[in-house]
């Protein structure tokens, strides 16, 4: 049946996502800075939701940071991504799920390019065959890992042990969501809600009891800017854009920021430290900084996971003020312990500690 009326108008903002059987590819930044997030996504999918998610250890970087800092050519990145499609085909999967917004943007860009320039698709097939002897199929569905968490936000809410509510006042927490530019600004149809009404994070926040904060610079870039961060001389660009965002959100008193992209998560955490060091400025209440969470970390907290198994202690901005607000009963003594319970050194000079 063809959708009509409002349903037709909004159909452009919907996204088809698979329900099961995913081929998983990791993010260079997420696995380097937030390994607990990637592992919790797999735990959530496999053990809590009972889904089939396959990872092949032979997948590599997509080379996206190199591509967007202009040292990697289009033909190269297309062929690297085609190799991932080949690994997926060989394993018998048709739905790819990607842990990185930069990669996700590139997968969508490349699939779109192949539609408009079929000659490029043919060239890529030849390059991949010549380099590796592999062949690939176009995936049936392409999702960012947050798309899948969004899809299962209600089943997660049904299992929730923690709600995004201030345990003292009973009011919903104020949450800033940061989507990340490459999720839907380039190819709006690939993202849930498109570029105008992104729902991927706000849908999770509302389903889990929080209040989504709107503020003037809500859609401004986090400031990464690829070469503008990678080269030390350019980092003024990066920190200035982050400062612009935080100054804009500060009056709305967010309890935490939820991010979509691993790079944004790292920058919004680390630049708060830098700005505090350089200027003595904090953006939270009572001189505190604002905790920055990945959606996997948030889903883990909502489901009652131990915050120290998720890796929240390895951000610069520490989570204790937020954990107390949420009424989470955490063990401070367990924070810097190894997997087998051995005490590790305790780091100094962290924020909100």
């Amino acid at each position: 049946m063809k959708p009509e009326g409002k349903k037709r108008i909004w159909s452009d903002y919907q996204k088809e996502m698979a329900d099961d059987k995913f081929f998983y590819v990791r993010s260079c930044i997420r696995q380097s800075f937030f390994p607990g997030s990637e592992q919790f996504f797999l735990n959530l999918m496999r053990n809590i939701l009972g889904k089939d998610v396959y990872e092949n250890p032979a997948h590599t970087t997509c080379t996206g940071i190199g591509y967007h800092s202009d040292i990697v050519l289009p033909a190269t990145i297309m062929t690297v991504i085609a190799r991932h499609f080949a690994l997926m085909k060989e394993a018998g999967y048709k739905n790819i799920v990607i842990s990185c917004v930069t990669s996700f943007g590139l997968y969508t860009e490349i699939l779109e390019t192949w539609k408009h320039f079929p000659g490029e698709l043919e060239k890529t097939r030849e390059y991949l065959w010549k380099a590796t002897g592999r062949e690939f199929d176009i995936p049936e569905t392409v999702a960012h890992t947050s798309d899948i968490v969004y899809k299962f936000r209600d089943p997660i809410a049904e299992k929730a042990k923690v709600s995004l509510v201030d345990s003292n006042s009973g009011k919903p927490l104020n949450v800033v969501e940061h989507i990340g530019c490459h999720y839907a600004k380039m190819f709006p149809k690939s993202g849930i809600g498109g570029a105008e009404f992104p729902r991927v994070l706000s849908g999770m926040i509302e389903a889990w009891g929080g209040n989504v904060v709107d503020y003037p610079e809500r859609r401004h870039c986090c400031g990464f800017g690829f070469r503008q961060y990678l080269v030390q001389a350019n980092r003024g660009y990066s920190v200035s854009n982050t400062e612009k965002k935080f100054s804009s959100m500060k009056p709305y008193k967010p309890d935490f920021v939820l991010t979509n992209c691993p790079g944004c998560n790292m920058f919004m955490d680390k630049w708060q430290y830098t700005i505090k060091e350089l200027e003595g400025i904090s953006y939270g209440e009572n001189g505190e900084s604002i905790p920055i969470l990945t959606y996997e970390e948030l889903a883990g907290l909502v489901l009652g996971m131990n915050p120290w198994d998720l890796g929240l202690q390895y951000h610069m901005v520490q989570p204790e003020p937020l954990l107390r607000k949420l009424g989470i009963d955490f063990d401070p003594a367990d924070k810097f312990r190894t997997k087998d319970g051995r005490q590790m050194p305790v780091p100094e000079n962290l924020i909100n500690a």
């Binding site: 990791r26 380097s32 800075f33 607990g36 990637e38 592992q39 250890p57 032979a58 590599t60 970087t61 080379t63 996206g64 940071i65 190199g66 800092s69 202009d70 040292i71 990697v72 050519l73 289009p74 033909a75 190269t76 297309m78 190799r83 390019t113 380099a131 590796t132 530019c181 490459h182 600004k185 380039m186 709006p188 570029a195 401004h220 870039c221 400031g223 800017g225 690829f226 503008q228 990678l230 080269v231 030390q232 001389a233 980092r235 003024g236 660009y237 200035s240 854009n241 612009k244 830098t274 120290w308 610069m316 190894t338 051995r342 590790m344 050194p345 780091p347 100094e348 000079n349 962290l350």
Partner: protein, 239 residues
């Protein structure tokens, strides 16, 4: 001299990115780079669509094309369906192909990116990896980063990762056969030659400037120079 506009047209990103710009300036209004740098994507696109060879050559040798952060916010907002960010990417690739990137302070930085991100790709199979983010080059990572590096095996073990381990998991060792396939992809697609061209042009420039250069790594004066040099002429209202 070659027709630079025709060379740009060979890049599919240019073909997709520039249809007909009417100079409205919406891209500049939304641009995070224009906010802080002497940068105006509207002017760049207008210069390019003028097809004047010497104007395009001056762009390819300028700092201007290196200010964009490739956030691609301009793509969403252009009322004509152009993507100034794609035009910039095509200009940057051509600037490096022709060796013009060494003529500007911001362009010379491509050498630093090749020696960090580029070398990481070949060595580890990752663009970025925990062990490749050196705290002395990244003071903004703060004390937690030094702590993570000093305790990385314990940190990763608790969080389910396995630095350089065999099998699946965060920061696993990419198998040697996979690294070899990655390198072969760079070879057959021109990516390895592109790296070589960045290296050779940078070596030439270092000699011209009388700055010490070494064939690998970051421990040489030319790397430090391009990684840190800032003339402080990039912001404000200078024309």
């Amino acid at each position: 001299m070659e027709n630079l506009y025709e060379l740009l047209e060979q890049d599919i990103r240019f073909e997709e990115g520039l249809n007909a710009c009417m100079n409205c300036g919406v891209c500049t209004a939304i641009c995070p780079a224009a906010e802080f740098y002497n940068y105006d994507p509207r002017k760049v696109v207008d210069m390019v669509q003028g097809k004047d060879n010497s104007e395009i050559e001056s762009l390819l040798k300028s700092d201007t094309i290196w200010y964009c952060g490739e956030c691609m916010s301009c793509k969403t907002r252009c009322p004509r369906g152009n993507t100034p960010g794609f035009v910039i990417m095509a200009l940057r690739t051509l600037s490096q192909r022709l060796g013009y990137f060494t003529e500007s302070e911001k362009g010379r930085q491509q050498f630093a990116i090749k020696r960090t991100v580029g070398d990481n790709i070949f060595k580890y199979g990752y663009c970025a990896a925990t062990y490749a983010v050196n705290p002395s080059m990244h003071p903004e990572q703060g004390p937690i980063w030094e702590y993570i590096l000093e305790n990385s095996d314990d940190v990763f073990e608790r969080l389910g990762g396995q630095i350089n381990g065999i099998g699946t998991g965060p920061l696993r060792k990419i198998p040697e056969e996979a690294l070899e396939e990655l390198r072969k992809i760079f070879d057959v697609t021109g990516g390895t030659d592109f790296f070589k061209s960045i290296e050779e042009n940078s070596k030439r420039k270092a000699a011209e400037q009388g700055i010490q250069f070494s064939p690998s790594g970051t421990d040489n004066d030319y790397f430090v120079e391009v990684y840190t040099a800032n003339s402080n002429n990039h912001t404000g209202n200078q024309e």
